[in-house]
């Protein structure tokens, strides 16, 4: 497992949300595809690419893409 490269993380998030680009300050709830399916995809991505398990409650408390990246990073440490 590699430590996080933020642009790469945002790109992975963009693929899950089926958009061109995700910026650090973007609010996740503003994406059409931010729903229970994409949450599962994020859990899977966090596990397979970063080796961490995020809980659903933790994801619910996240507001922006940067918050989500921070959550994954914090778990890696």
């Amino acid at each position: 497992m590699t430590s996080m490269n933020r642009p790469e993380f945002y790109q992975r998030l963009a693929e899950i949300l089926d958009v061109e680009e995700v910026k650090a300050e973007d609010r996740l709830k503003n994406f059409d595809e931010w729903d229970s399916l994409s949450v599962l995809s994020v859990l899977a991505m966090a596990d397979s690419k970063y080796g961490v398990a995020i809980r659903a409650e933790e994801i619910r408390s996240v507001v922006t893409a940067a918050d989500l990246a921070g959550l994954v990073e914090a778990k890696q440490e």
């Binding site: 599962l40 859990l43 899977a44």
Partner: protein, 385 residues
């Protein structure tokens, strides 16, 4: 579990030394079973089929979102028992077929195990009801086991233990679940995934050692991750527990239906199951390459693909197609996976397989064994008499 070690080998009188079945003494629950084999597996599914595309309007899903869900979870169609058809009916149908075709004789049955979460009654045990319906002898041991997704592997464990103790006879393991009766058809989280099914597995002694390895873990502190909260005795049935409420859009449920914490179950499956697979492989002296098939419980295609990737198992060795053909039938999903995907191979030859069931409890159990050739290994449709 220690009593298994106390059981002498059934074959102790034979010249060759065969050790008895036994469990290890370390903290991990690991067991070896010897001189036992599966003789036949028959899966029974209701003939009635329901298609996700036709159900979409029940879930308030946009076409786009339904499409994503269908693709990600691998949904297409599933089998749903009509009203009045219980798990036991599917199992009796299968057992009757094995008796009719001569694969099994009534007098060979020493024990009847019924694994289900959808019994006929609170009491008596459904296994007794089935014994009576089939006119089996009074010497047949009847036992019901309340187990879900891990219920096939746990049922096999119980069957092997019984074979160690019984004087003679075979064990018939019945797995049956009609989860369609525990979910609302307006619940997009549960209804599209579930499927109803029953299976009959015949387990017998054999002269060859045929060592079977099992690793088993349980974590009751997470029992709420998959639960029917009401309708039993902790929260008895009342107008309140029967009331349907929309938890979120497209998720309608009552307290007497299955509640699933999807993310918790997902994390459990990815975190706890792969290490157990590694453990049972090394315990049984196998590598991923020496296993022909990883025949797992079938919750949905997405999680099974994630598991295969995580464990670096080729997708073709870990089938994930059952949920989109029959639906997830809880403890019956492994037998359905076996009969649908490996029926022909197992009727004609043998395979080394790794079975794994994980879910309700939470419970996770994995087993490595040589399977086949089997007298019967097929999937049949249930047609009401």
């Amino acid at each position: 579990m220690g009593f298994i070690q106390a059981q002498g080998s059934f074959f102790k009188n034979e010249a060759r030394d065969r050790r008895s079945s036994g469990c290890s003494n370390d903290a991990n629950m690991k067991c070896i079973f010897r001189n036992k084999r599966i003789n036949a597996i028959l899966s029974v599914v209701p003939a009635q089929q329901s298609r996700f595309d036709d159900e979409r309007s029940n879930y308030n899903l946009t076409e786009e979102k339904a499409g994503r869900m269908k693709k990600m979870m691998g949904l297409d169609r599933h089998r749903v028992a009509p009203p009045g058809v219980c798990s036991s009916d599917l199992c009796v149908y299968g057992l009757q077929q094995l008796l009719n075709e001569g694969t099994l004789k009534k007098e060979e049955i020493g024990a009847l195990l019924f694994v289900s979460q959808t019994p006929d009654y609170y009491l008596p045990p459904t296994s007794n009801v089935i014994q009576g319906r089939l006119g089996l002898g009074h010497d047949v041991i009847c036992l019901d086991l309340n187990q879900g997704c891990a219920g096939f592997v746990i049922g096999l464990m119980q069957a092997f233990m019984l074979l160690d103790m019984m004087d003679a006879g075979k064990v018939v393991l019945l797995n049956g679940d009609t989860a369609s009766k525990l979910v609302d058809k307006h619940n997009r989280v549960t209804y599209p995934l579930i499927g109803d099914a029953g299976s009959v597995t015949v387990i017998e002694r054999c002269a060859e050692e045929n060592a079977i390895h099992l690793c088993l873990k349980m974590d009751g502190s997470r029992h709420r991750a998959l639960i029917v909260p009401g309708g039993a005795f902790r929260l008895p049935s009342s107008p309140e527990t029967l009331k349907l409420a929309e938890a979120e859009e497209g998720v309608v449920q009552s307290l007497e239906q299955i509640h699933m914490d999807g993310a918790a179950v997902f994390n459990f499956t990815l975190e706890d199951v792969p290490p157990q697979i590694e453990e049972v492989l090394s315990y049984s002296g196998n590598s991923k390459e020496s296993i022909d098939y990883f025949l797992f419980h079938q919750p949905n295609q997405f999680i099974l693909k994630q598991m295969a990737d995580k464990m670096k198992i080729p997708q073709e060795k870990l089938p994930n197609n059952i949920v989109g053909i029959y639906g997830n039938s809880s403890s019956v999903s492994i037998p359905v996976n076996i009969t649908h995907n490996c029926g022909k191979q197992l009727r004609n030859g043998a395979l080394r397989v790794c079975l794994s069931g994980f879910g309700v409890g939470l419970t996770w159990s994995s087993m490595v064994m040589n399977l086949g050739p089997l007298a019967t290994c097929q999937t049949v449709d249930y047609e009401a008499a």
